[in-house]
Symmetry: C2
Subunit: 328 residues, 2 copies
């Protein structure tokens, strides 16, 4: 799928969304303004606002409102804010094939600019023509979900006992929650019915879960084009779906032995990582994760059924298939 | 002045405020909840909520509302959020005489919990009984002021050309803006008149500026009980009021020579710091800063004149004098 084709198809609605994004972070302080422009120039796929504008149009016969575009822009600002903070938290040097703000300008700038983008997201949402308390609360909730998800992941990394229920909770909070907000805000902006709201919410949550599972599969697949080495998650003691799948396939005894090694990974990080990469390969952890991923893609696509036929609906389906297939 | 005496005097209103603070950050994730309780146990003076509750009562004949207490709590949550982020930005190990969350649990936890407190502040404000768009926007504005102030300070540190106008702008954004929001939100919560709003705003801005100037004086006064070594600001190339005062007293030539040294401080950090500490002492930079500080204290106190007489008004005055005198 060609993401740019969708953006082109969305025409003025997409341009307006991009205008809200860049307008929100324009400012008079030189250091801040130039950094913001640098961040905008490495925008990545902009999946969240894309999803948001598509949903608004799919729910309204192609008639997105100014508020649809504001909310869509807000999801991108919020997403970038969390990346700026994540890069400090993870000491990351590279993101989207470019050096991170943290690497170039230090943690101080990355944290502060993250705060700045976060506020600008909130202000954009407060600027909506139709005041909507539900949307404001939704975005607040998403932001606390994001922080909670990361913290739960950290806590579970320390105890080494993440199971599939924990995993799903973590990836919902840290990824799917913002997809959900993007879709629901879009539906609200065009006054969709409760039934349609429910449908696009189901679509977006499944899509977000699938998106994160795909990311976690990448971490066990060095041949993917992400530019990241394999096994980073396990070095951080994060137990993700490919490993949980290998546990399910290998049986309790092997699982217990691997979990013990993860808790003590500091003893021999590279050795234990390589052993776990082999363990996941030998016990078809990727096949297991792939199946769960496919299930969510299917769920996302079928949630769309009740929507009227439209190019937007087809693009939303494509977005789901793309999420399942993407190589980077 | 005894801060605890004021808290005791505020009785139920203070208890309610404290309840909102601790209630907002109560949560089910063990790691997050225990860290939040740790932060609460090192609460410091809680000047912002104290100011906020006092103003609400001073403007209403002692009748603070639930919203007054919510807004007051919001200022403390917001303040703590920015401290959690500052500690990561500055790599700080100590705060309020205890190890920072960053030092104990790493930058990841400090950044994420900062985000969490920030959202909880917003949610508390959104929870107000009387929906008030002005208050929500005010807090948003304050938060972007805080980030902008820190970034402007960083930019100015690099260029080495901070003058008194820049300095006042920086300390307004990074400190006085939140004092202003605390007072204005309080006035709004009890439906004070526009004239009273203006008065408490003037009070709070002057108080906030004085508070930050006092902090900057500490940095040149190793004998104060802050527990911090002297000259930290200058090592970070921050030009604050005591140095600007010394510039004003010493003349243009000496100023230019010192400014050049600050730009190149990396060449000989300790030597240049010691030289600047002497320069400020010899040119009475502290006397200069002290005078500006006293002017703001006086301005804060006289802004209160139009308020009806009350114990709260007296406490607000005392708070101003305390800010001028505090030794830590």
């Amino acid at each position: 799928m060609n993401i740019n084709e969708i953006k082109k198809y969305l025409g003025e609605d997409w341009k307006k969304t991009e205008g809200y994004i860049s307008g929100a972070v324009k400012c008079e302080i030189g250091l801040l303004d130039s950094t913001n422009r640098l961040i905008l120039s490495h925008s990545g796929k902009q999946l969240r606002p894309l999803l948001s504008v598509l949903v608004a149009r799919a729910c309204s016969g192609g008639k997105a409102t100014d508020d649809s575009c504001r909310y869509a822009a807000g999801t991108e600002l919020l997403h970038n804010a969390t990346l700026l903070h994540d890069d400090v938290a993870d000491d990351s040097d590279q993101r989207r094939g470019a050096p991170t703000i943290r690497a170039m300008m230090g943690p101080t700038v990355s944290v502060l600019i993250g705060d700045y983008w976060l506020v600008k997201a909130m202000e954009l949402i407060l600027d909506a023509d139709t005041k909507n308390d539900r949307v404001i609360r939704m975005f607040s909730k998403t932001l606390s979900d994001l922080a909670e998800g990361e913290l739960l992941q950290l806590q579970k990394a320390q105890s080494g006992d993440t199971d599939e229920t924990d995993y799903t909770k973590i990836i919902f909070s840290k990824t799917a929650s913002l997809f959900e907000a993007a879709a629901l805000a879009a539906a609200i902006s065009v006054e969709a019915s409760a039934q349609i709201e429910e449908a696009v919410k189901d679509y977006a949550v499944s899509l977000g879960l699938a998106f994160q599972i795909k990311d976690d599969i990448f971490d066990y697949s060095p041949e993917m084009k992400t530019g990241k080495p394999a096994g980073v998650d396990i070095l951080e003691q994060k137990i993700t779906l490919p490993l949980l799948g290998a546990f399910a396939n290998a049986g309790k005894e092997a699982e217990m032995s691997i979990r013990r090694k993860i808790i003590n990974i500091a003893d021999n990080p590279d050795g234990i990582r390589d052993e776990i990469l082999s363990f996941v390969r030998e016990n078809d952890g990727l096949g297991y994760a792939r199946k769960v991923l496919d299930k969510y893609i299917e769920k996302a696509v079928s949630a769309l059924e009740i929507l009227r036929e439209s190019p937007e609906k087809e693009y939303l389906k494509e977005l789901a298939y793309f999420t399942g297939q993407r190589q980077s």
